[in-house]
């Protein structure tokens, strides 16, 4: 690997000290509290029509400014999904609708001077509902007689196979090679169905937005969002106003994980401010965040593997049923990853594959983007099926992977025919084996004290941005005395993108890290960026930063050339100075900066946009050691080894912590995190009391290493890391639990009850 000075180092985050000393930096800290308090009245029914709604009494509560119902909002449908236009997600929302589609859907918006007044008004709104039959089971949703979106104004902008008259948000089938023919020739076929539940992103800062009118009569939206430019479009669609009337900025964000890639709270206070001209703020409670936002898509995935008795995987057949809930946010796009990322992992000997899916509407909370974005679900299914194959063939699950895993240089038909240009998956496996001592550990050993110790393995891939779609941009500007200002619209949600992008700029400009200041995410002034999602920031925006810095260097050399009366070819850029190649003369960066501000005609500011035609996957291997208690069914994590190939690691600390954080979320998904509904569609897990995310007692020991590859299309050889790290815990833990108990758990989470019932069933 190249010898880097700033990149590939454990540099402290730029905002670290402000965060650890508790400075007021988040939305609710930096916006005034003397604004209108906005709250949403949520539907108590999974499916209902509002026959009558009376707000007159509620409006009389002292301090109430306005109450809005479906009668007051624009009739133009939109999607809340933060995606590039034209969005693949259907336009199926109104700010408030007469038809309510899940328990939690918006019935009315109340704005008032105090929280107390608003709470009182909420209780005084009288609604007569016509309760309708809901579709609650996603397996029966397609072609159900009950339609979630019967309305004529429903619209799909992209050809994703959507049909609201069939409760279909998307459908597709793709095939490569002779699937049935190859399957028929296989010695062994493993076929199973796996079920992953909705999971809450559960970032610690709930959804929150402040809105105000600026002196130019424009709506200024300040909120915790990953996608300032998409929010601008979504609000313009929802409010039916010109985009030029909206400005979106973000302060520090208290976590996103994809949740804030959807416009969950922005619309309501924006509507209030637009109507009243008054500043407004909406802070979702934890309960609202758990019941009226957009968690991970629940999926049921059927995997069929055809292999030889030597464990050569020849054919894969995957069908995914995805539950998008009441609205289609990210429905058509998440599902694709469940097949692409899982099938492509086993590319080595693959002769044929089939991948089909249906994404259906139901009357439950809408799903949305969550770290891993469908790959997580698909990889749980595929990796579990491969482990089942290994056990059926009585083979080492590591060896079966080594035989079949995708290799560097291979073309992946299941991954848009992209070439696997940088891939250290094989080395990740070798290293993980070493660290874990896989070859010397039995799959399971009964400790004789009521506990069984066992191991499990899984691997994963993701992508780096959306190829041909995502746009990342950077503006870099030379300032007085030679420091630089970097302006971006990628949103740092805690992962440290402000820092890593500054690291890249410093590396390129051969200066100190402290010589770069970063300003982020203002739709008025930042260069266009699709936003922080799809694991795109390091790879796509990072490349834009690199290119912008190169161009700025050229411009500075031009100024130096004029000052030294020579051509730029005779000059070399050396960070703090620019010298003649022969060493005879030089000029300092400070002089160039000074010159740029006096009688200069060469702009010392450059903006570059970047988009990539490819989306090189990062890879990883996870190995887990657990203990299962035979008396209680409880699973205890002992050790988790993760080896990741994200190309060049830009910040070694931040990549490590992101990996550990992703593993912890994956552990939660595997063992505890569940979203369940009662018979009328109300969510049980509406707080942290019921929705259990892992605590520090639950995660065991995690050991993370990197096996770098060099991705030539990425900045400094980098690929992404944000999402892939959540993908291995579920299948690895399910594998270890099988090794301990002899029972495959094909539905997540694998709670102690399920483990216990499995053990008991096995014994009988």
């Amino acid at each position: 690997m190249a010898d880097f000075k700033v990149v590939n180092k454990p540099i402290r985050k730029i905002d670290a000290m402000a965060l650890v000393t508790g400075k007021p930096v988040y939305t609710d800290d930096v916006t005034p509290s003397d604004c209108l308090v906005v709250k949403v009245m949520h539907s108590p029914y999974a499916h209902a029509m509002i026959n009558e709604i009376d707000t007159e009494i509620a409006k009389k509560v002292p301090g109430i400014e306005a109450i809005y119902t479906y009668k007051d909002v624009p009739g133009r449908r939109f999607t809340m999904a933060g995606q590039t236009y034209p969005e693949p997600s259907p336009y199926d929302r109104l700010i408030l609708d007469q038809r309510l589609r899940f328990v939690g859907d918006g019935v009315a918006i109340v704005a008032g001077e105090t929280e107390k007044a608003v709470d009182k008004a909420l209780k005084l709104i009288k609604v007569k509902y016509e309760v309708l039959e809901p579709v609650l089971d996603f397996r029966t949703a397609k072609d159900n007689k009950v339609l979630v979106h019967p309305e004529e104004s429903w619209e799909a902008l992209c050809p994703v196979g959507a049909d609201n008259k069939r409760n279909l948000c998307a459908t597709d089938l793709s095939e490569h090679g002779d699937v049935d023919g190859v399957m028929a020739e296989c010695d062994v076929i493993v076929e199973n169905t796996y079920h992953t539940k909705a999971n809450q992103q559960a970032m610690m800062e709930t959804f929150r937005t402040y809105t105000t009118m600026d002196p130019y009569g424009r709506l200024h939206v300040i909120g915790s969002t990953q996608i300032v430019f998409h929010v601008r479009r979504i609000l313009a669609n929802a409010l039916d106003i010109p985009k030029s009337k909206i400005r979106v900025t973000k302060p520090r964000i208290g976590g996103g994980f994809g949740a804030k890639q959807t416009c969950v709270t922005e619309i309501f206070p924006a509507f209030v401010t637009w109507k009243t001209g008054k500043a407004a703020k909406l802070i979702y409670t934890r309960e609202e965040s758990q019941t009226a936002s957009t968690p991970r898509h629940e999926m049921e995935i059927k995997v069929r593997i055809g292999a030889t008795k030597e464990g050569i995987i020849r054919v894969l057949d995957v069908y995914t049923l995805s539950n998008t809930g009441s609205y289609g946010e990210h429905g058509p796009t998440t599902v694709g990853l469940s097949g692409q990322k899982s099938i492509s992992l086993y590319n080595n000997n693959l002769e044929a594959y089939r991948f089909g899916y249906d994404v259906v509407y139901t009357n439950v909370q809408s799903a949305g983007a969550y770290r891993g974005y469908g790959a997580t679900q698909g990889i749980f299914a595929m990796e579990s099926a491969v482990n089942e194959l290994a056990s059926k063939l009585n083979m080492d699950p590591v060896i079966i992977r080594e035989k079949n895993m995708v290799k560097e240089g291979q073309v992946m038909p299941s991954y848009h025919d992209e070439t696997n240009s940088s891939c250290a998956l094989d080395r990740c496996m070798t290293r993980a084996k070493e660290m874990f001592d896989w070859d010397n550990k039995p799959l399971a050993v009964d400790l004789g004290n009521g506990k069984i110790r066992s191991v499990g393995v899984a691997m994963a891939m993701q992508s780096s941005g959306i190829s041909g779609v995502d746009v990342g941009s950077a503006t870099i500007k030379l300032n007085d005395e030679g420091f630089y200002a970097l302006s971006i619209a990628a949103a740092d949600m805690g992962t440290g993108c402000d820092t890593i992008l500054a690291q890249m700029a410093a590396e390129c400009l051969e200066c100190d890290f402290d010589d770069i200041i970063v300003y982020g995410a203002d739709s008025d002034s930042s260069p266009y960026d699709s936003g922080s999602y799809a694991s795109s920031t390091t790879y796509v925006t990072g490349k834009a930063v690199e290119k912008a810095c190169l161009q700025l260097k050229e411009k500075m050399c031009k100024i130096a050339g004029e000052m030294l009366s020579c051509s730029t070819e005779d000059l070399v850029f050396q960070g703090k100075k620019i010298s003649k190649v022969d060493g005879s003369e030089e000029i300092t960066l400070m002089d160039i900066a000074t010159k740029s501000m006096c009688g200069n005609t060469e702009a010392t500011q450059v903006t570059v946009s970047h988009s990539s035609k490819v989306s090189p996957p990062p890879f990883m291997v996870g190995m887990v050691e657990i203990e299962v208690d035979k008396e209680t069914g409880a699973t205890t994590l002992l050790d988790y080894v993760a080896v990741v190939d994200c190309g060049t690691v830009i910040n070694t600390n931040l990549a490590r912590v992101q990996t550990e954080g992703g593993l912890a979320q994956g552990i939660g998904m595997a063992l505890y995190e569940d979203v369940t509904y009662n018979s009328v569609g109300r969510i049980y897990e509406n707080s942290f009391m019921q929705y259990k995310i892992p605590t520090r007692l639950d995660v065991g020991k995690m050991r993370v290493e990197f096996e770098s590859s060099y991705e030539h299309t990425g900045p400094f050889g980098a690929k992404s890391i944000g999402e892939i790290v959540i993908n291995t815990p579920s299948p690895a833990i399910a594998h270890a639990i099988y090794n301990a108990t002899g029972v495959w758990h094909r539905e997540l989470p694998i709670t102690p009850e399920k483990v216990m019932m499995g053990i008991l069933k096995n014994e009988n």
Binding site: A16, T21, P24, V25, M204, N653, R656, E660, F688, M689
Partner: protein
């Protein structure tokens, strides 16, 4: 009702509603380090000291702290910086939203038990949730801070 308390060393006398929560009172007084991550006493983000003992301010009425001494991270800036730097050096303050509550509890732990084992650290801080870091980096930071203090021969 009128209450009187000491907030980060300053006396505050005020009329408050009987149902006002301590967290809302503190934020209204500019103590923005105090965060609300849940409403159910599950996340630990709202941790502050009442008479030097950590409590969850989302689950305590301000009326109950009448006459008491309240400390938030705003009142412990030096300690927050000293210790926080070690968390920062691990990159374990990701979104940072959980950090004030964590640091309050960690400071309480250092005072109670200047030499905790890994197990004791994890136990003591179990009530402080973090969704970003996976906890390992926080543990590394805490241990690095403790050994730094030990080397210096000081007590925390």
């Amino acid at each position: 009702m009128q209450i009187k308390l000491w907030l980060n060393g300053k006396m505050v006398t005020e009329d408050v509603a009987a149902d006002m929560l301590l967290i809302d009172f503190l934020r209204a007084h500019g103590c923005f380090s105090v965060k609300r991550g849940c409403e159910t006493a599950n996340c630990g983000l709202c941790t502050v000291f009442v008479e030097d003992k950590p409590v969850l301010s989302c689950s305590m009425l301000v009326a109950r702290v009448d006459g008491k001494k309240i400390t938030t991270l705003e009142g412990l800036q030096e300690e927050a910086e000293d210790f926080g730097a070690f968390i920062a050096d691990q990159g374990a303050e990701q979104c940072g939203f959980c950090n004030p509550g964590l640091i309050m509890n960690a400071i309480a732990m250092f005072r109670e038990n200047p030499n905790p084992t890994d197990e004791e650290i994890i136990q003591y801080l179990a009530g402080n949730l973090c969704r970003c870091s996976g906890y390992e980096g926080q543990l590394r930071g805490i241990k690095a801070f403790l050994s730094f203090k030990k080397e210096k021969g000081g007590v925390c």
